[in-house]
Subunit: 256 residues, 2 copies
């Protein structure tokens, strides 16, 4: 079974998709076959790896309603060893449809059980909410990675999120652990970034990754070219940071 | 009746709360009594005007389930003539509770009908989704203001959002119009900002505000002090931009 990591935070714009895309790409470039699942109806993760939003037939929605197996829905991307289950517009309606289904929280977990054993990692990109799509991703995951922007508002939602993760672990998915808290968009020129980073390290200590993702304009340019950062600008600070993050995760998952 | 403007965009982190807080403050400072309603369970708008998340008794949730009238729930803020209906943690459950209610989309519209006639404007801050809380805000509004970050991913969700707004106008709230599209976090040092702004202006033409909100670190520092930008740093670019935006809105609403 592939190690499944969900990238979640109900606060918007904190770097969930940027982390999902670039971590998945870095794991694939390190020789680990990886599946990226776009659980966000906005479809940004699909764009980030150069796959247009699913025309409507093979996507996350079809996997969740059983029309397609997960391996069937997985599409190759611009990176060898990186595959994607793209989102499509139907996913918007999925949350309301899921409300009345039995085992509604475990639909994605059930689908991922049939993932081909050649995959070493699965990365799930979540929408900015704590609704049923995010709960499905948390139930399907071995661990959750929480990106947190080095800004004041970002600290506010963190305790709500940790409570939700604990609730899911107690009642829905006992194996769920915290992969780590990832500081993003760190700008060393501002006192605010330093202050928020210091606060996060005080609160979460060794659960904060050693890697800090800097604010780097190349990261926000890359999606316009449908390329993860490692292909768009291999030498930039963004590529270095996400490569270092992948190494930390491999070290933790494989060397234990 | 107060002119009601909802600040909406399902893309996360585009500056919805920053716009709701600082536009509402600028309208109040221009002598128009204004109500800010925090419809986001994260409660960032409450923090932005120095009001702690409602302890659980008087908040948006209680207004929506009828326990309190909207004027009763409104609390004064650090700005004279600016009042706030704060959010509280119960609001997270509201979306699921609303699913089974009759007229579930019109709950907030119904509550705002009882707003004291001394209020000239009501500004609703929405969460980053197109769920029932945002639909309630769109049904309660005369117009919708759409902040859009000058970044590539931000363009992607715009067509989905415009479709949702049109759907609400056709089937739920015929008076809903577009107040305008507001470019935010514009950084004149990057080509990306210029490119996205050009694209937005080409697509939406005169529906894009003349005012462009620049990326300005003071805007992200202010929430840490529980102050809108006009009180935190009256001379900075952020204050100038939001004051200009308020003038554009007043001109359109009052001299129309
Ligand atoms: N380290 C970084 N440096 C500069 N820009 C970044 C960085 N990380 C992300 N961005 C940009 O910031 C914006 C928000 O990031 P992203 O879309 O990844 O966040 P998100 O949490 O997935 O948002 P949502 O809540 O809408 O899903 C995007 O335009 C992205 O390109
Ligand atoms: N013009 C700006 N310049 C610099 N920072 C800004 C600007 N506007 C907003 N910010 C900061 O960017 C972050 C995102 O803004 P904000 O929280 O207002 O977006 P949002 O759309 O309300 O997010 P969410 O989708 O989570 O509700 C915040 O930390 C905020 O302080
Ligand atoms: Mg995203
Ligand atoms: Mg907000």
């Amino acid at each position: 079974m592939a190690r499944t990591i969900s990238i979640a935070n109900q606060k918007g714009g904190v770097g969930k998709t940027t982390t999902a895309v670039n971590l998945a790409a870095a794991l694939a470039l390190a020789g680990r076959k990886t599946l990226l699942v776009d659980m966000d109806p906005q479809g940004n993760a699909s764009t980030g790896v150069g796959v247009p939003q699913a025309a409507g037939t093979h996507g996350t929605y079809q996997v969740m309603n059983g029309a397609h197996g997960i391996s069937e829905a997985a599409a190759p991307t611009v990176v060898k060893d990186l595959w994607l289950v793209p989102t499509n517009i139907d996913l918007i309606g999925a949350e309301i449809e899921l409300v009345s289904r039995v085992h509604r929280e475990h639909v994605m977990a059930e689908a991922l059980r049939h993932l081909d054993s050649s995959f070493r990692y699965a990365i799930l990109d979540c929408p900015p909410s704590l609704g049923l799509l995010t709960v499905n991703a948390l139930c399907a995951a071995d661990s959750v990675l929480i990106p947190i922007q080095c800004e004041y508002y970002a600290l506010e939602g963190l305790s709500q999120l940790i409570k939700s993760v604990n609730r899911v672990r107690h009642s829905l998915n006992p194996r769920l652990v915290l992969e780590g808290i990832l500081p993003t968009m760190y700008d060393r020129r501002t006192a605010l970034s330093e202050q928020v980073l210091g606060e996060v390290r005080k609160l979460f200590q060794e659960r904060v990754f050693r890697t800090v993702i800097p604010r780097n304009i190349r990261l926000s340019e890359a999606p316009g070219f449908g390329r993860p950062i490692a292909l768009y600008d291999p030498k930039c600070a963004g590529t270095q940071a996400y490569t270092a993050l992948a190494e930390e995760i491999i070290e933790h998952a494989e060397k234990g």
